[in-house]
Assembly symmetry: C2
Homo-oligomer: 148 residues x 2
């Protein structure tokens, strides 16, 4: 149920909000060639239809002392349900995101830790908790994210 198709103006508004999520309606209105009220109605509509799921602040985690980022691939025992996988991984506070995966492995976990010792400890915790039968960790040296 797509509700409404988005037109080019909606996409323009999304781009503006992706670059600065606190941009005001008054600021965006002239950029898209509409009145303030029309901009607000479009953003409200995208919120209601679920296209916009929220707004958030972007943080430099390294400056908060979480300098190391890693991905760990997890293999689970054959009897483990997706629900269990998500539950056990999300219980670990260092885990930022969990992706369940098609194919020979079962989950890819994105985590942030303070240092190498901490990384070791979290991996051990993941291996110990539940039905994990194998892991492979990729330590992130650098990253680039599309500036939407």
């Amino acid at each position: 149920m797509p509700g409404h198709e988005l037109d080019e103006t909606d996409h323009h508004l999304l781009r503006l909000l992706q670059a600065d999520g606190r941009r005001t309606f008054s600021e965006m209105a002239p950029e898209v060639g509409l009145s303030v009220a029309a901009v607000k109605r479009r953003v409200d509509r995208m919120r209601e239809s679920g296209v916009i799921t929220g707004f958030t602040v972007q943080v430099d985690h390294a400056k908060l002392g979480w300098g190391i980022e890693a991905f760990t691939e997890l293999r689970y025992a054959g009897t483990t349900s997706v629900k269990e996988i998500l539950a056990s991984a999300s219980r670990t506070p260092e885990v930022q995101a969990v992706f369940t995966i098609a194919g020979d492995l079962d989950a890819l976990v994105h985590m942030r830790v303070r240092d190498i010792n901490h990384l070791q400890e979290v991996i051990d915790r993941l291996r110990g908790s539940g039905k994990v039968i194998g892991t492979r960790t990729l330590m992130v040296l650098g990253s680039w994210t599309r500036d939407d």
Copy 2:
């Protein structure tokens, strides 16, 4: 150069903004027990010190027709520099993020595509462009992200 250490109030403000990046200063002020002006000054300071790198809108990409998410591990020829890796991967519009990795592989690429054919096409494009000597793709079936 950390500039300033963050106190518990700053962390509280970050949590509030992570949950809703458009929350107003007037709304946050009573929650952290400060005046509106003090809250604004703290947020401004975290922006200036680089702890806060920006604000953005969160979008449901599936509703925009980019229903498939995948991670592709890339191996590059030994002579390839990190700069080249980031450049070639970021040139592909479907790529959302590139992580350079320690160890036997060289990069992990996060991508969003419309469908399986599109995924195949993007992988071929990555393999063709530059010095990629091997890939392994993990298709995402489901995901969970910490609701900071």
